[in-house]
Structure formats: C-alpha cells, structure tokens
C-alpha cells in the first residue's frame, strides 16, 4: 500500500467503517442505558435549595471545596485539555470543512495559528496529567489498561494533527493519513470505553442530582 492508497483508504472505506461503528455503538449504548429505567422512588419528595438535576450538572463542573488545592493537576489539567480538545475539534477550519462535507453544517472557524497553539497547550496538559498519573501511587494503583489506552487514543489524533499542520517528521500527506487513521481509531474506541462519558456525562449527573434532590440532598 503506497501513501496515496493509504490516504485514500483512510478518507474512504476507513472513514466509512469508523463512522459506522461509532454511530452503531453510540446509539446502541445510549438506547440501552436510557431504556434501563430506574425504580420509582415512592417516598415523599423533600425539597432543599440547590438540589436538582440541573444544579448537579453545573455544580460538578466545578471542583468541590478544598479539592482544587489537594489535586490541582487533575482539575486544572483536566479543564485545559477538555476545553482545548473542544476548541480544536469544533473550531478548527479543516474539521468544520469535514463536518460540512459529511452533514452540510458549517460555522466560523478560529485562525489556524490559534488552533496550533491550543493543540500544544492541550498536549502539554495531557502529558502533565499522564506524568501525574504515573507519579502518584494512588492514581497509578487505580489505573487500569483502559486508562492508559484511552489516554493514548485521545492524545494521538492531537499529536498527528499538529505535526501534519506543522510539517514535522513525515510529509504532510502521510501525516494527514496517520491523523485521519488515529481519529478513526478514536471514533471506534469511543462508544465502547470510558470515553463514552462524552455522551453520558450530563445524563448521569442529572440522574444523580435528581435522585438525591428527591431525598433533599444537594450533590
């Protein structure tokens, strides 16, 4: 397989397969999770200020009192790389072009220099968080293969995309093909790993908030 065939495969059949598996997995898991249902709480609902699903959705985006000091890397690094990823994926011009090509929607993009800078900051945050995970005995003990694997699967598309636009190491087209391939691996892995939190996050926060609000506890 030469570089053109490789790129053609990643743009064509590879993308088809990855998006197919992604959609299949996401719909399957969302339907499965949300049709499970929960037993109705028959107790009389209590009321407390700040106790509701919506409150919890927002509250859990902020660190609980004191936690920011205890593990600053997890919180600050976590914020940086999540926001960074969102900026790169949804505001990078080539990504918007891709989405426009696939579904016809488009919106304004940010300058590519800014996206490049964001990618560097995002990667730095991810590397610091990985180092922290390795260095802290408790975090290391709690880490499973899935944690290391999903870190790599998330990191690679950022790295290859940045290297492709900066023309590092490999010719642009080869790096582009690797970037597309790594993003496709991410699409395939996402529905079946902890990365699915991108879809379930707010739902489960709402659920937890709701259950506890019924008991009059703001969580």
């Amino acid at each position: 397989m030469n570089e053109l065939e490789f790129l053609t495969w990643t743009r064509g059949p590879g993308l088809d397969i990855a998006v197919g598996i992604f959609l299949l997995g996401v719909l399957w898991r969302l339907i499965e999770i949300y049709t499970l249902g929960r037993k109705k709480d028959l107790a009389a609902p209590r009321h407390a200020a700040g106790a509701s699903g919506l409150h919890t959705v927002f509250r859990r985006s902020l660190p609980p009192p004191g936690m920011l000091k205890r593990s600053p890397v997890s919180y600050i690094g976590g914020y940086i790389f999540h926001i960074g990823l969102a900026i790169i994926v949804f505001l990078g011009a080539p990504h918007i072009l891709l989405i426009q090509n696939l579904v016809g929607l488009s919106w304004p993009s940010l300058p590519s220099q800014f996206i490049g800078l964001t990618a560097v900051v995002t990667m730095a945050a991810m590397v610091v968080m990985l180092a922290d995970r390795i260095n802290k005995p408790v975090k290391r003990f709690l880490s499973t293969f899935e944690d290391w694997f999903t870190w790599a699967v998330t990191f690679l598309p950022v790295l290859t995309g940045w290297m492709a636009t900066q023309h590092l190491l490999l010719p642009y087209t080869q790096m582009l093909a690797l970037h597309i391939l790594s993003a496709e691996i991410l699409l395939v892995v996402l529905p079946f790993s902890k990365l699915f939190h991108g879809f379930t996050l707010f739902g489960s926060r709402w659920y937890n908030g709701r259950v506890n609000a019924h008991k009059g506890v703001p969580v």
Partner: protein
C-alpha cells in the same frame, strides 16, 4: 539508417552543439553530475543502435503520441533514430504476418540484448482473450518477448501500474508489466501520458552507461520521480500561506492561488511536470489552472475523485445510515432483553418475611 547518431542528426539539421546542449540539459534533469552531459553526448553520438521491440497492449496510443508528436521536430523524437525500432505497430510499415515475422526475427537475432518497451496493461480475464494480437493473447506475447529482453521499459501508467483498464471494477482483469515479469530489470515510466524527456533520459542513460538509471520503490527513475509535484510547484508559496482557490472561477483562482482544495493531487504525485513542463516547456496542468490528477501514481482513477481535496472524505458515508439503524436495533433489542430479565426477576420475586430471616 546506419552510422553514428551524430551523422543522422546532422542530416536533419541538428548540429553537434545543439546536441551537446541537449545532453547537458538532459543530464541536469536527470540529476547527473555536469560532466555526465559530455559523456552522454559522446557515448550517444557514437552509440551502436540497440534493438528495441515496442509492444502495445491494452492502451490508447496516447503514450506513443506523447513521445513521437510532442513537439516536432524534437530531439526526443530523433533520439528514436538511434535505436533500431524493430517492432512498433503504430509506426511500422509492415502489417499482418510480415509484422509478426519482423518481431520474431528481432527477438531471435538480438536474444538477450534487446530492450522491450511495453505500453498498455495486460488483461488476464477470460485467459487473456480481451486483448489479442495476431490471435495470441497479450500475456503470451509479453512472456515470450520478456524472456529474451535485456530490460523492460513500461511506458505509461497502464503498463506501469495497470492504469485505466485496471480501474475499479477492472472488467478485463488488467495487470501491470511488473505483475507478470519478475526476472528482468523493469523501469516504470508512468504518466497518462508520460513526459517524453523521461523516456529519452532512460534510453540515454542505458546507451551511455550500459545500465538503467536509479529507481525508486515503484520502479520509476528517481531523477524524474524523486520529488512530488507539490514540492516543486510554483504555487507552493500560496499553499504555505494558506491561500486557496475555492472554485475554478473565484478571486483565488484568478490570482493563481493553490488548487489543493479543488482536489489537486500534487502532494502525493511523484513526477517532473512542475520542472520539465509540457509541450516544449509551454505550460503544465497546474499552471493552466487545473489541479494535478495524480496520473503517475498507481490506481489514480480510484483515488477518491479528481475534484475532492485530499483531506476531504473521499466518499459520502455509505454505511452510516445502516450502522445507525443496526445500532438502534441492537440498543432496542438489548433493552427489551433487559426488560424481560427484569420482569422475569420481578415475577419470581418472593417476599421475605421476618420469619424467613430467622430461619
């Protein structure tokens, strides 16, 4: 035509200095040291004419046209006088059995020494019946002719990589020369059509040094196919500045900006168009405002559309809807199974009393 090439050229009004100048430029294009131009001129001027057999298979004669009619009268064309072209269906006067006899005579007289030029792909479907000459299939003819050849030169993308006959769904089962001939040195000169000077360069190299030029991993002469169109494109600075034509008639197109977003395959295409150009150096596709099609790369017909940017998805998602339906189906099926399990559990549920616990 007998005697050294220089006399032949002189008869046609090509002076020695013109020839020297041509060889200097040819050596420069082939990235040979500057002194090679002189060596080339001397060797070629006095060369003994090698026998060349040219076999046309599944082809359109565009390659022959490119070389023989490129820009008359070219030295490229005249270089053909320095070879003894013993069989070339398009150009030879003989026809029918006479032509076949010429072919066999050349193969016998020069066994082990002749150069075999092939243009066109070779169909293998239906035992090769899709393309026959004189009642024999192309694959038979190629195998026989390759046996006695010193080297094989595959001219054009069809002979080099299968080309358009091999394009999906490849109805004739077309293959390239290198798919069939394994025990001979093969030079691929792809392009649709190939650049004439590449052909001359390979012949000149063979006559001067008695060997084939250095080849890349796809069997192409490195000196002509070593760099991509993109690397040497005069519009490259626009690419680096992020200035792209979005349509063929917008402001960007008029300003001569990069054609990447209009599907230019320059970044993945190895060829010399950007430096050698076409029609005697007049222009080349990108200069005339159209992106590179990638014609010198394998399977360029199936490269995902000529007008789609290399970074855009090649095909609209084919399985997406089906996958979504299957996914939703799987989700519903699993949730039904879960419900059944739950209600089964509920049905078998027995109330535990205090008495049970005390047992």
């Amino acid at each position: 035509m007998q005697g050294p090439l220089i006399d032949t050229l002189a008869r046609r009004g090509v002076t020695r200095r013109t020839f020297l100048k041509y060889c200097a430029t040819l050596a420069s294009m082939m990235a040979l040291p500057p002194t090679a131009g002189r060596a080339m001129a001397e060797a070629m001027a006095a060369a003994r004419r090698p026998s060349v057999i040219w076999l046309p298979f599944q082809e359109c004669t565009g390659c022959t046209e490119s070389i023989t009619r490129s820009h008359s009268p070219t030295i490229e064309g005249m270089i053909f006088d320095m070879i003894s072209l013993d069989y070339q269906e398009t150009l030879m006067a003989a026809a029918g059995h006479q032509a076949e006899e010429a072919l066999h005579a050349a193969m016998q007289d020069n066994a082990g020494k002749y150069l075999l030029i092939v243009d066109g792909s070779i169909p293998l479907g239906q035992d090769g019946a899709y393309s026959c000459i004189g009642g024999r299939s192309n694959v038979d003819i190629l195998k026989e002719a390759a046996q006695g050849a010193a080297a094989v030169i595959a001219v054009g993308s069809c002979a080099s990589f299968g080309g358009i006959p091999k394009a999906n769904p490849n109805p004739t089962g077309a293959v390239s020369v290198s798919d069939l001939v394994k025990d001979k040195p093969i030079v691929n000169i792809p392009g649709c059509p190939p650049i004439p000077v590449v052909m001359t360069g390979v012949l000149a190299h063979y006559l001067t040094f008695g060997s084939l030029p250095e080849l890349d991993d796809k069997g192409r002469p490195k000196s002509f196919f070593g760099e991509t169109i993109h690397d040497r494109c005069y519009r490259r600075p626009f690419y680096d500045q992020g200035k792209f034509a979005k349509t063929f008639d917008d402001e960007g197109a008029r300003q001569g900006w990069c054609l990447f977003e209009l599907g230019c395959k320059g970044p993945v295409t190895h060829n010399a168009c950007a430096t050698v150009k076409w029609n005697g150096g007049t222009s080349w596709p990108v200069e005339s405002g159209h992106g590179c099609l990638g014609c010198s790369e394998p399977d360029f017909w199936d490269g995902g559309g000529f007008y789609k940017a290399l970074s855009a998805p090649a095909d609209p998602l084919k399985f997406a809807a089906a996958a979504a339906v299957v996914g939703a189906g799987a989700g519903v099926a699993v949730s039904v199974a879960n419900r059944v399990k739950k209600s089964a559990a509920k049905a078998t549920h027995e109330t535990t009393t205090l008495a049970d616990l005390e047992k």
